[in-house]
């Protein structure tokens, strides 16, 4: 049966878990799932189970030796020093039992989403468990073991021979995906993030534009700390629209980290729910305009798992099924279910009050600088029109 959109989910996806107090906490996927369920806007028939990525699929991007190390680590057999050289057993990506299996399932979940869209069973697919954009070929980094997005894009190239536009709106630069496709002109990457001067991983400068044949197919918009909704949306809308028009992709792949929100504890941007309403809307529109609707969306960062992530991620699904005009109060059923467990007071409404943060002192300068950054980033494609 064909559907407009599918939602990849299984409780097994929650097993990607480093420790109880690690900021990367996949309970957020469950929170989102429950929120949509309590709205009666996620039907059992919308859900597809994730599959496990094979070693061969992981090797589309990852070094077999790294995969071997992750397997050993998950069995408690990897020497500490060897682990460090692969970025595992660190504060960011600690070792946990079964880490290979959990990570391979997470990659497989994104591949399930890809197959569903590319085989024409649905136009759009959402895997909130994915979006681990910091994973490198032979190294875990920034909470990411395997990079589901890089693997999925290589898979899209090999199996379906398509041009992929990757759009990353996580507050952190999408370095793993960028470097994987840096010299490849058939993949275009656009990352909008907080400037690397202030935030991990430190890269994502305007001057990173690709290399060799891939020069001109990497776009980065580093935004200043404390950037607010309007300035953020100006950068997003302008860049996404113009880059899509320039690249004319066959499929749009969006990484939906939701850590640019003011409440996020790891970053320094000042966005609100307003941007999370708009992000999926534009992706949806451009996918229909240029790609016959083919749009694969994954999750990503997001460390205020109570107040920000469930609302922001629900809006991606609601946009896919064209119910994103929802507003007002959140369902009490969901609040009653989760408030006893939540470490913060759950929000009562879909939208944020404008008073959640004090006025930003240098707003005008920040907006001006961001607008200049957008101009610089887009200069080559505007100049060649």
């Amino acid at each position: 049966m064909t559907k407009e959109s599918v939602f990849v989910y299984s409780d097994e996806l929650l097993k990607y878990r480093f420790s109880n107090d690690h900021p990367f906490n996949q309970t957020r996927v469950k929170l989102t799932y429950d929120l949509l369920k309590s709205l009666n806007l996620l039907d059992e028939s919308d859900i597809i189970p994730p599959r496990v990525a094979t070693d061969e699929e992981l090797e589309l991007v990852h070094d077999p030796k790294f995969i071997e190390a992750v397997k050993l680590a998950g069995e408690g057999k990897l020497p500490k020093e060897t682990g460090y050289s692969y970025g595992i057993g660190t504060e960011d990506t600690p070792i946990f039992p079964g880490m290979h299996e959990a990570s391979a399932l997470l990659v497989g979940a994104t591949l399930s989403a890809v197959d569903h869209v590319m085989s024409g069973k649905s136009k759009h697919a959402l895997n909130l468990g994915g979006g681990l954009h910091h994973g490198f070929r032979g190294k875990a980094s920034g909470f990411c073991v395997y990079n589901d997005s890089s693997v999925a894009i290589r898979y899209l190239q090999k199996k379906y021979n398509v041009k992929v536009l990757y759009v990353d709106t996580d507050a952190h630069h999408g370095d793993g995906v960028q470097w994987t496709f840096y010299d490849d002109p058939t993949v275009c990457t656009l990352s909008i993030h907080e400037t690397g001067r202030y935030l991990f991983p430190g890269t994502g400068n305007v001057t990173e534009r690709g290399s060799g044949k891939g020069y001109g197919y990497t776009f980065n918009i580093p935004l200043d700390a404390f950037t607010e909704d309007d300035s953020w949306l100006h950068a997003y809308t302008t860049a996404f629209t113009e880059v899509t028009e320039f690249f004319k992709p066959d499929v749009i792949f969006t990484q939906n980290g939701v850590d640019s929100h003011y409440y996020d504890p790891l970053t320094h941007l000042s966005a609100t729910m307003k941007i999370y309403r708009e992000i999926p809307k534009l992706a949806h529109q451009l996918a229909h305009q240029y790609c016959d609707g083919r749009w694969i969306a994954v999750g990503g960062g997001g460390y205020d798992i109570w107040r920000v992530v469930p609302r922001a991620w629900s809006l991606i699904w609601l946009e896919m099924i064209e119910k994103s005009n929802i507003s007002g109060a959140l369902p009490t059923e969901w609040i009653n279910q989760w408030q006893p467990i939540a470490k913060l007071t759950l929000p009562a409404y879909w939208d944020d009050e404008p008073t959640i943060y004090p006025p930003i002192p240098r707003r005008a300068e920040i907006e001006e600088k961001n607008a200049l950054t957008v101009t610089k980033t887009l200069y080559p494609i505007r100049n060649n029109k």
């Binding site: 370095d175 991983p201 790891l266």
Partner: protein
């Protein structure tokens, strides 16, 4: 770090009898701004920069167009007192040479023979690498009292978190000489625990400021 680790070893050179127009052509083709002039033993006897050439070129407003000027040999316009460096010089030292003499490039000689060249751009690139900005990490800025042992104390806090340090820079606080600012690049996406711990230990963390609800 020493000069031979960062210098360019394939140096394009000219001889004193080559013409100015040859130098212009090579600078255009190779996109370079400096060419050492050497004798037959590869000893540096002069240096020609894009500025020397600009000085020698007729003005674009001078319509009498004297083509002959550009046929003159380089020895007529080259700088003859060339400052050179040695492959074993320290990068920090030669940075001071660039700054003091306001030069844009430094030919490197060993036993009186040209073996390499360093430009301002090479130096800047090296310093960018020294800051660790090319590896995934987070930046921390900490204001500390200017006294012995403080760096070790700060680094000890980080050690307890099992987080690797990419680079350390220390510079004086512009406003108060009793303080210094330590800039660290640490290999973690989540520096919040380290920051909290540093603050608990009485340090002033200038960046990042802890975000979240401040009302």
């Amino acid at each position: 770090m020493i000069v031979e680790e960062i210098m360019k070893k394939n140096v394009i050179t000219l001889s004193a009898d080559d013409s100015i127009s040859t130098a212009i052509k090579i600078m255009d083709e190779k996109k370079i701004r400096h060419i050492p002039v050497v004798d037959k033993n590869q000893h540096v006897i002069g240096l020609i920069s894009d500025r020397d050439i600009r000085d020698a070129k007729p003005s674009i407003l001078d319509y009498t167009n004297n083509e002959k000027t550009l046929d003159s040999p380089l020895k007529d316009i080259m700088v003859k007192e060339v400052i050179t460096g040695h492959p074993l010089d320290f990068v920090e030292e030669i940075s001071a040479v660039f700054f003091q003499h306001r030069i844009g490039c430094l030919p490197i000689e060993s036993n009186g023979k040209l073996v390499g060249i360093i430009t301002e751009t090479d130096l800047l690139h090296t310093f960018a690498q020294l800051t660790g900005a090319n590896q995934p990490g987070s930046q921390l800025e900490i204001k500390v009292h200017n006294r012995a042992g403080t760096l070790a104390d700060v680094v000890n806090v980080i050690k307890n978190h099992n987080v690797n340090i990419h680079s350390v820079l220390v510079y004086p606080d512009k406003e108060d000489t009793q303080y210094k600012i330590i800039v660290l690049r640490v290999q973690t996406m989540n520096p919040t625990k380290i920051i909290t711990n540093l603050i608990d230990n009485g340090y002033t963390v200038l960046w990042p400021t802890i975000p979240g609800p401040r009302l």
